[in-house]
């Protein structure tokens, strides 16, 4: 094992997959010499050359479209959007092309591509550079959506995503990039659509993904002395969901809090809540809570920016309130 950052973990996953399979290529804005907007692809152009690490013009739509066509032809393109907010410019190619071509060709054609999206707020970048839009993608059959919560997860999940034969949206939280964690020396992957119980517990189930997992873990640790024993599930893959792990945990604890940074209304938490309300209803001891982003654009002002997404204190309070019921 070694300690590396989330950013490095992603960089390593890319490098190792590119070494393993010459069909893996990278495309995106400033991913070459510049190293990527968040320095995730640093030095890869030196290792693999500019025919495998390709700077694109500011043309998100065709970058996505080109990835679709290359993937249909047998390559395994991994593309980067500079901010997940610009997925708005790629939607047609993702939703109407990438997600549907396997189906429309009755299984003949695969579209093995990965779109890497830096997600989330906390950097003061304002309303157009801070959104968490992953819920849209989870509403699109044919797409897979992955969101790792730490370096180990990031590396293993990205490798699995690259090897997957479907279009995968790979979300990365910007605030996680500099955070470090242990990662094995040897090659490993983490299967998609398999959630992870990061902390066992009996009092209530917290379901989260990405950066929120870290916050839930801290909250859980801080609540332990108070006799609240929280089970924390890291979803890892948001679509298609690992229903079994979720439902089993809920059946055990009977209490659920779902946590994410994305806007509450219509977020991934809604789907998870609905899933539970349909399939584990009789096990529930309390209302299902969602602690999620406020229904507002992300404000620039720092205090407001922090206030509009769940912080550890919000999560703790919600858990305590729920246990008091």
């Amino acid at each position: 094992m070694k300690e590396i950052t989330y950013r490095e973990a992603i960089n390593e996953a890319l490098a190792e997959e590119m070494t393993r399979d010459e069909n893996v290529i990278l495309m995106g804005e400033d991913i070459g010499l510049y190293g990527g907007n968040f320095q995730v692809t640093k030095d890869l152009i030196l290792k693999f050359g500019d025919n495998r690490v390709m700077d694109t013009p500011v043309s998100e739509a065709v970058t996505a479209g080109c990835a679709v066509g290359a993937a249909m032809s047998g390559l395994r393109p991994v593309i980067e959007a500079t901010f997940s907010d610009f997925v708005t410019l790629m939607m047609d190619n993702l939703v109407n092309q990438a997600a549907k071509i396997h189906y429309l060709s009755a299984g003949e054609i695969n579209v093995p591509m990965v779109l890497r999206l830096p997600v989330g707020c906390g950097t003061g970048a304002g309303a157009q550079h801070s959104q968490s839009l992953e819920a849209w993608m989870c509403h699109v059959p044919g797409l897979k959506v992955v969101f790792p919560s730490n370096p180990y997860e990031a590396k293993g999940l990205l490798k699995a995503a690259i090897r997957d034969d479907n279009p995968v949206i790979f979300c990365e939280h910007k605030l996680l990039y500099p955070t470090a964690g242990s990662v094995p020396e040897e090659d490993y992957t983490i299967p998609l659509s398999q959630a992870n119980i990061v902390k066992k517990g009996t009092s209530l189930t917290m379901i989260a993904y990405g950066y929120s997992v870290q916050k839930c873990l801290v909250a859980a640790m801080q609540l332990k002395p108070k006799g609240i024993d929280i089970e924390v599930i890291d979803l890892r893959t948001l679509h298609p969901l690992d229903e079994d792990t979720i439902l089993e945990s809920v059946k055990k604890t009977g209490r659920v809090i779902i946590v994410h940074e994305a806007v509450k209304t219509g977020g991934v938490g809604a789907e998870i809540s609905a899933l539970i309300a349909e399939k584990a209803f009789s096990y529930l001891k309390a209302p299902i809570l969602r602690i999620a982003g406020m229904d507002i654009p992300i404000p620039f002002n720092k205090t407001m920016e922090q206030a509009c997404v769940p912080q550890i204190l919000d999560i703790k309070k919600a858990a305590e309130r729920m246990m008091r019921r």
């Binding site: 013009p57 739509a61 065709v62 080109c66 066509g69 290359a70 396997h102 054609i109 093995p112 034969d165």
Partner: protein, 321 residues
């Protein structure tokens, strides 16, 4: 690969196949035999077929909502095309796709996208793979005049140009995007002009003259194949039929205009050329028409007799395993 008589006859046969197929589809729609909608390419047979005749093994095309002519042009099986129109399991998309999404990867048709401009990125990506792998293949990306007003057009041509990809953008300018005449949708005499924005070479062809299209596309394809970067071809043609099944009134154009283009029918013109140059006698042309008609009737029977896809498989192809 010059234009041998044999090839001309093959091209003619495919153009006739496309025409008769589409006339048949039109009737079947009118009789309520078919579900959904369709966009016919009647009048555009030279534009749709001739470029395909310049291709070799491993080359690819991408098509649009108006794709039947191109499907026939690239040599797809009319039985499977018709079966798809009927939504049958034996269709090219197993019944999942329908008129707008005909696909046959092996034959060279990567995908037909019903989103205007939806094929542009795909075509560029396919060309990227060919260049990356050092293959001698090329892509022809078919689009309409209307599609050249989409943002994707701009991005795709620019990317293809700066990356020097082996791709030909073949614009079938049929005068309209639904009801919008080309001259109203852009402030330009020739769409070809747009290639200059990307430093891309371009030509204009008479889209109703199969021989010319073949020859000019052939040399364009050759130069693209040799690595000189992408090319742009504007094929000036005309849509004889309505835009789609629902376009009945056609208030946006007049009979005079239609008559003018009816007289320029690409099939008639190719027949005249073939007769004049002794490539075929009129009996042979008749024979071809008869044979094609027989084949199509067989194909309809095949389609009708094919099975519906099993409902059990409705979710089978959402994800690759």
């Amino acid at each position: 690969m010059s234009l041998t008589n044999e090839k001309i006859i093959k091209m003619y046969t495919r153009m006739v196949t496309a025409r008769l197929l589409e006339e048949m589809l039109n009737e079947m729609f009118n009789e309520g035999m078919l579900h959904g909608t369709t966009h016919l390419g009647i009048g555009q047979e030279a534009s749709g077929v001739a470029p395909c005749m310049t291709l070799m093994e491993g080359d690819k095309i991408t098509l649009t909502h108006r794709n039947h002519v191109g499907c026939v042009g690239i040599g797809m099986d009319v039985k499977k095309i018709l079966a798809e129109m009927f939504g049958k399991e034996t269709g090219v998309c197993g019944g999942y796709g329908g008129s707008m999404h005909m696909v046959d990867y092996e034959k060279g048709n990567m995908f037909a996208s019903g989103v205007v401009g939806g094929g542009l990125g795909i075509a560029v990506g396919a060309a990227l793979k060919m260049k990356y792998k050092g293959e001698a293949n090329i892509v022809i990306c078919f689009i309409g005049d209307g599609a050249t007003n989409e943002g994707m057009f701009h991005e795709a041509l620019n990317l293809a140009s700066i990356w020097k990809l082996p791709i030909v953008f073949f614009v079938e300018n049929n005068g309209y995007a639904v009801s919008m005449p080309t001259y109203r949708s852009m402030n330009l005499q020739n769409i070809e002009k747009r290639a200059e924005s990307y430093g891309m070479r371009s030509i204009i062809v008479d889209g109703n003259n199969a021989i010319d299209i073949y020859n000019m596309t052939f040399s364009a394809v050759q130069s693209v194949r040799e690595g000189f970067g992408p090319m742009f071809i504007e094929s000036k043609t005309y849509r004889i039929c309505g835009h789609s099944r629902s376009d009945t009134e056609q208030l946006y154009r007049n009979q005079k205009e239609m008559d003018y283009y009816l007289a320029k029918c690409p099939i008639k013109r190719l027949e005249e050329y073939m007769l004049k140059n002794n490539i075929a006698k009129s009996e042979m042309l008749k024979e071809i028409n008869t044979q094609v008609m027989d084949e199509l009737k067989q194909a309809v029977l095949y389609a009708q007799n094919s099975l519906e896809p099993s409902l059990e498989n409705i979710g089978k192809y959402v994800y690759a395993k």
